[in-house]
Symmetry: C2
Subunit: 403 residues, 2 copies
């Protein structure tokens, strides 16, 4: 008998038919004799509908109340799915994050899980009940509802798998695994049988929607056996693990991200510590900075360019302008018509031909590279937003067509 955590996203539970389908998958796992913990997201468009309701009464509601509002979405999902399981005669119980004791930090709309109490779930599993838990949410020290930010339900699932030492954590989605790139852009994209945590992490960080990077980080940290699998078709998905078969000589995939904006601080003083000041300030406002480039400007000044999520652009400019006196820059340049394309593969940087091959593909397609950023297993380039899909196609063809 194994303990299996199964997570289903919003599109997998979007209506009664899909919920019944999810119930059948859960039932199959349970009836094989496994303990099952299920993590659910809010139904399809529920979150968007709730955000719209909020906007009607307040254009910029507090994050605390937004969390209180949005948390109802997952609660609806778990209750409905429990009812579907009841209809099949299976013992089950739905639990909200506060009932489980998914304790988080108090950073509303972007909380981190700190600890999961095991008592309630353990007691339900001991009574052979299927346990359904609201994804995406937690409860902070003073008992307020928090949400975990984008991809939060994946994180909930992996955190539960880690806390209960689950034998397997299955992330069910409407795709059937991790692909070498987005199949909607490149129809020739191939499904990967397996991928390392690190590769998945880079792919997720670089815009592959299939898994959120925080969940992959957590899976890597606690060695959670992760699997990305389709909720609509019964076929093998992609396994995410520590080491994959060594035969691989190619990259794992090509990712794109068009949700970013570029901000440049022009004419900064050439003092040590100025970069620290900028990024310390932004991190205090919970703004994540990605690619950073520092360059020499005119007349002994320097420029710092970095990318952020599009949604943070206004706040970032506001914060920087509020501190113009301290930071002493000349002006800000911002651009949200950019995109990022990345290749990811274990050992990529120790094989110098790989990056060159990527640049060659871009050169052959006449695409301008604005910035380059690399890690041990990834090369990313910043491009004009309009060039992104063309770049993904060209790079994917370069790496995968010739095998």
């Amino acid at each position: 008998m194994s303990l299996i955590v199964q997570k289903f996203g919003g599109s997998s539970v979007k209506d009664a038919e899909r919920i019944k389908n999810v119930a059948r998958i859960i039932a199959e796992t349970y009836l094989k004799g496994n303990d099952v913990i299920v993590v659910l997201s809010a139904q399809g468009d529920t979150t968007d509908e709730l955000i719209e309701k909020a906007q009607e009464v307040n254009r910029s509601p507090s994050k605390r109340e937004m969390d209180m509002l949005l948390a109802t979405g997952e609660q609806i999902s778990v209750a409905l799915c429990a009812m579907a399981l009841e209809a099949m005669g299976l013992p089950c119980v739905s639990l909200a994050a506060w009932q489980v004791g998914i304790q988080s930090t108090g950073v509303h709309s972007d909380a981190r899980i700190k600890k999961i109490d095991s008592e309630r779930i353990r007691s339900e599993l001991d009574q052979h009940r299927i346990v359904l838990v609201t994804g995406f949410q937690g409860v902070d020290r003073i008992g307020d509802v928090t949400t975990l930010g984008r991809g939060g339900s994946d994180t909930s699932a992996v955190a539960l798998a880690a806390a209960f030492r689950a034998d397997l954590c299955q992330i069910f989605t409407d795709v059937d695994g991790v692909y070498t790139t987005d199949p909607r852009v490149v129809p020739e994209a191939r499904k990967l049988e397996e991928i390392t945590y690190d590769e998945m992490l880079e792919l997720a960080s670089q815009g592959a929607q299939v898994l959120h990077n925080r969940s992959v980080e957590l899976a890597k940290k606690f060695r959670v056996n992760l699997e990305v699998v389709s909720s609509l078709e019964r076929k093998p998905g992609t396994k995410v693990k520590e080491v994959t078969k060594v035969e691989k000589t190619n990259i794992a995939g090509v990712a794109k991200d068009t949700s970013i904006a570029r901000v440049a601080l022009i004419g900064l003083q050439h003092n040590p510590g100025v970069a620290f000041q900028v990024f310390d300030l932004l991190s205090k406002h919970n703004i994540n900075v990605d690619v950073i480039l520092q360059s020499i400007g005119r007349e002994d000044t320097k420029d710092i360019t970095f990318t952020i999520h599009k949604k943070d652009q206004d706040e970032t400019e506001q914060i920087l302008n509020d501190h113009k006196d301290v930071l002493k820059f000349d002006h800000i340049e911002a651009d949200d018509k950019i995109g990022k394309v990345s290749i990811v593969g274990a050992g990529l940087m120790s094989n110098c031909g790989v990056a060159a091959k990527m640049f060659e593909a871009l050169y052959e397609s006449g695409i301008n590279i604005q910035m380059i950023n690399t890690s041990e297993i990834r090369v990313s380039v910043l491009l004009d937003e309009d060039d992104v899909n063309k770049a993904v196609k060209a790079i994917h063809a370069k790496f995968f067509d010739e095998i």
Copy 2:
């Protein structure tokens, strides 16, 4: 400075405009220097929509999961209303029943409030925040979400008013007070300036929708200053209190209830204790029995007739049939095409002319009385469902037109 509890029902918060209106009423009270605790129901049709969603996956879901599902409705209301208050620049915080610590029994869909923790709300009030609490719900001993049954939000409001010794508990509705009868049936109905707890209790028990009887019971027990007032118009409502002005010589009102069904057990053995057996059995299944009539049947048997809520009819027949061997009755007769009309007034039964006047009105209108039931301050008659409105009009005219 006073502490005021304000409760708004589902139609008062049904959309963004109504929520903003509610926020203005709350703001007005708060800005006069009062502490304010607000209790909200689910928005307009939310509960019905959630029930429909449940029905699509399970025709008879467990009450536990139903409570988990329905409790999201009030949480959406309090979060949205908090956002509306934020937009007005007012400090506020929304709290679900489990966050407040509204502890209830574990009877899902019909729980009773046992105790309210004061710590969290007290701390928020001390910080001069308006506190918005989800009505209709509680949390039981093991941390499961419960709901309080019909009119539960009124009960939540009165219970909070009692727990915090509020100076006033205002129940806002889409009518502007308690009327001598339903103004939709009798346009001449008059608004009452005040009414006693006992009269309100009987009116509520007998079908007047304006306040739920459990909330009035609680208000009477803890001497809560209650007021029924319109959320749409600024004008005086109806005060519910211990004693009203003595000048009253008339009844307080005429109530109707068409949500009942009549069940008759025919041919019971003439043994002592058989009535106890029947009603003990039903009470164990949480089925409320109202009017009871016992009569001599043919051949040394007896019949017991009683009324219940229409929704309980199927379950009642099922339970009785399951125990036919023990109860030893011949057969069951059930009828859901009946209605009940009641007159309510303090000291009504000590004035023997009052009941006679009611029967006279029915006689003059040619309406058949099927059963009669009385209390210290009430006379109820069971009628054919089709006669109910005609009866209300005739009785109201008899008592109120001649003054």
